[in-house]
Amino acid sequence: MTALKTTPLNAIHREMSARMVDFGGWDMPLHYGSQLEEHHMVRRDSGMFDVAHMSVVDLHGANTRDFLRTLLANDVAKLKMPGRALYSCMLNEAGGVIDDLIVYFIAENHFRLVINAGTTDKDLAWLRRHAPKFGMVVQHRIDLGILAVQGPQARVKVLALLSPDLSQAAAVLKPFNAAWSGEYFVGRTGYTGEDGFELILPAGELESIWKQLFAASVRPCGLGARDTLRLEAGMNLYGQDMDESTTPLETGLIWTVALDASRDFFGKSALLNAVPARHAVGLVLRDKGVMRGHQMVTTAHGDGEITSGGFGPTLEHSIALARVPLAVAPGDQVSVEVRGKNLRAQVVKPPFVRSGEVLVNIQ
């Protein structure tokens, strides 16, 4: 057995009595006592997540924009001003999702990617395989760490800790924009459906910032709450809702694919030629119980499968993301096989919750 990898916050998680779990080879906090309370704190006030297991990759070179226009399904031509960010899938030739990521435009010769932990090695291999043709330098920033601070009070609490110049710049950021000062980088992004920041900092500074945020009553939250928050927000989890065997068209990410004629990118021709048979929808359980991943969904148009399921603490109902036949539409009634019983569920359009508000009918 190989030793688990740790983030710079490992010691402080243990100090805070976190229940630690093996998350894809990383020793990460699941919760610090109550996952439900952590979830509610993010919806109502503020919470912070150690996401330093994720990777920051800096891309340098005069052709960085062309490189990314070729490698990403979304089009970085949309990023016109430094500081702008874009969510995108990176696809293989078959249109399968290698990873989903956020790309930041820092300068014409410098873009920054934030990629998933479990996909880091294969992402780097893919980026480096195509880098030489574009004269790119691909730099895995293991010297940096990411901290997500989320919730309606999150931004105010972060701004109070930043240097005056960075605080001023970060205070006026619109969603999906970033500001930085030296190696302190602040993006108004997140994975919870709430307002907030994701901070990219020198690894050695994470613990100090964590402690200052804790002193400002920002609640430490584990991966458990991160998962229920993102599920309620209708956001995909790589490896669960999508992977290399699914295209963005089958997993609710068609809005992130720029298919216009102005450029070619890896996976484009596959997407143009593919006729997806299934698509992603949300489900709200009508009966008592809890839906889970991989459970079978029976619809009037054929079978489907739950990709992510669980209990939505804000909705106080079980919710799920499912891949079902294309003809299944919001409002349809379907049945889900939960532990040997067929339970009734209603098809809805995600997200379930945004900015603390329930967006689907749960009655």
Partner: protein
């Protein structure tokens, strides 16, 4: 939390309390609720159902996972805790107070095969790694 000495246990994390009328009350242990995390749903057995020792009898679902609760003894289900349907978190708050169901045991001999607190604690400690 200490494992109450007045209860008996199964290695599958149920606790069993012998009542004066010969019935037994069943719940899941503190260790079990801790492993599961916040509970969000309890599916209790039907009153009157005959269960065999070791049979799946109830389900507890947390934010993380679903777990079966097994009948610690063979017998008839006499009652289920009506409060748990609306407040499954009572199990997290006090696992030894929040009982799940009561049984009328068929065979007193089975009771002797249950674990005492010290034996159960050894099993729970081993899982805490």
């Amino acid at each position: 939390m200490t494992t109450p000495a007045n209860l008996k246990y199964t290695k599958l994390h149920e606790w069993v309390k012998e009542e004066v009328d010969g019935s037994v009350t069943v719940g899941i242990t503190h260790h079990a609720q801790e492993m599961l995390g916040d509970l969000v749903f309890v599916e209790a057995p039907t009153v009157g159902r005959q269960v065999k020792q070791g049979e799946e009898c109830a389900v507890v679902e947390s934010v993380k996972a679903a777990a079966d609760v097994y009948a610690p003894l063979s017998g008839e289900v006499l009652a289920v805790n009506p409060e748990l349907a609306g407040a499954p978190e009572m199990i997290n708050a006090d696992a030894y107070a929040a009982w799940i169901f009561k049984l009328k045991p068929n065979s007193p001999a089975e009771f002797g095969g249950l674990l005492d607190a010290a034996a159960y604690q050894t099993i729970a400690d081993a899982e805490q790694h």
